[in-house]
Symmetry: C2
Subunit: 217 residues, 2 copies
DNA sequence: ATAATAGTGTCTCTCAGACATTATTTA
DNA sequence: TAAATAATGTCTGAGAGACACTATTAT
């Protein structure tokens, strides 16, 4: 207890059907105890690289959006150690999930998250708050979807994350006039009965715009 | 270069007449090189305590608002060392400044900030962005004023920080209906010619509200 | 033709921004 | 009474939210 050590912890969100899920790992120590993915920061890597490394073989990093959240450093947050954790949240499309090789990881619906070590439950709670806030002002919801998606799918994503129904016409107007996404020529067809839906993608240059506008470095 | 060390850095804002100022310290190494106040985190103190400690004898901590900003950890941000810095921003009323005991500290107007070590200039820039953003949505400007203040003073604060003139009636309406501040019975009188202005203070229980609403833990 | 989902427009109300005059004090 | 600052209300335009019907496909 004489040294301060540093790690990163990532709250990875992904959407499965009708639930928002979080990636958790068994913490090893106790039987029914889980932890957020993460780990120590190497001397020659950035914090963000450390966070990305912790996601290797769990999600496809290329497709994952990553943003720093908050740094937790209360002296007593981890028993018998002085650990400071830089937390991140990540948004992963469902198709960017890697096949879980072992029982060493599991996606949990947010309402069914089991007991977590230390203050990780608090970190998850805060990450969710920030995610909801982000959706309200920034149309970032598409980060939870594959490259091409329908407006209904996007709206559904928003409804799941925000936990409330949205008006279809208002939603479409708002999203479209934000200018973050654009039409493609493709239709989603054969996916069920009903009229096929137009597919959209986010505008490649919108990424730069979002970064320019973004509140956090 | 085999260990990661941790410190905190604080961007302390204060208002002097017509300029927004930042507290800087000489960095010791070079002659015209300055640094943000801060320092290493002790093993038994929280990050916020470490930040507060760095402000001792510089401002009256009781009166200072402190909020975590971002954690900087690029491997190359500090030459020959692996230093991770948790940054904070602080808002200090002018009357909470302590008398500078030595030449070891100086308040600089934002437009005249001298050369800073490492990435401290970037940290200042980001802190200002966050401060401006905060004022736009949260009426936090009163943290730069003494306990009691007039609406004109508050508006002036906003104008300095945001760098633009504001409409008096719209400003008053907006601030008052946010319900963050309340009238006192006092008037500011004898301060010059002109009609005396009513003094306001922020509502004691508004502090709790702001914290509840706040985006950052 | 029926069931299922996609796609579209209008009205209303609230809120933000522009704007000028009266009120109260000191010198 | 002149100069200085405080205090106050209205109009207008833009945007947000409520709301229902038509279009296109598969079975």
């Amino acid at each position: 207890m004489s040294e301060i050590t540093l790690d990163v912890r990532i709250v990875v969100f992904s959407l499965d059907e009708d639930t928002l899920q979080v990636l958790l790992l068994p913490c090893g120590e106790a039987p029914d105890c889980w932890t957020l993915p993460g780990g120590p920061v190497q001397v020659d890597e950035s914090l963000e690289e450390a966070a990305g490394r912790a996601l290797d073989n769990r999600v496809d990093r290329e497709q994952v959006y990553l943003e720093q959240l908050y740094t937790y450093g209360e002296p007593q947050r981890v028993p018998a150690r002085r650990l400071v954790s830089v937390s991140y949240f990540a948004l992963s499309p469902a198709n960017a999930r890697c096949a879980a090789r072992t029982e060493s990881e599991r996606w949990y619906p947010l309402e069914k998250v089991p007991g977590l070590v230390h203050d990780h439950a608090e970190i998850v709670k805060y990450a969710l708050r920030r995610l909801r806030y982000k959706l309200e002002y920034s149309a970032a919801g598409f980060q939870l979807l594959p490259d091409e998606f329908t407006l209904s799918e996007l709206q559904h994503t928003y409804e799941i994350v925000l936990g409330e129904k949205l008006d279809k016409r208002n939603f479409r107007r708002r999203i479209l006039q934000s200018n973050i996404i654009e039409e493609t020529n493709h239709l989603r067809t054969g996916e069920g009965q009903g009229r096929p839906a137009r597919l959209y993608r986010y505008r490649p240059d919108a990424v730069a715009e979002v970064k320019a506008r973004r509140l956090f470095p």
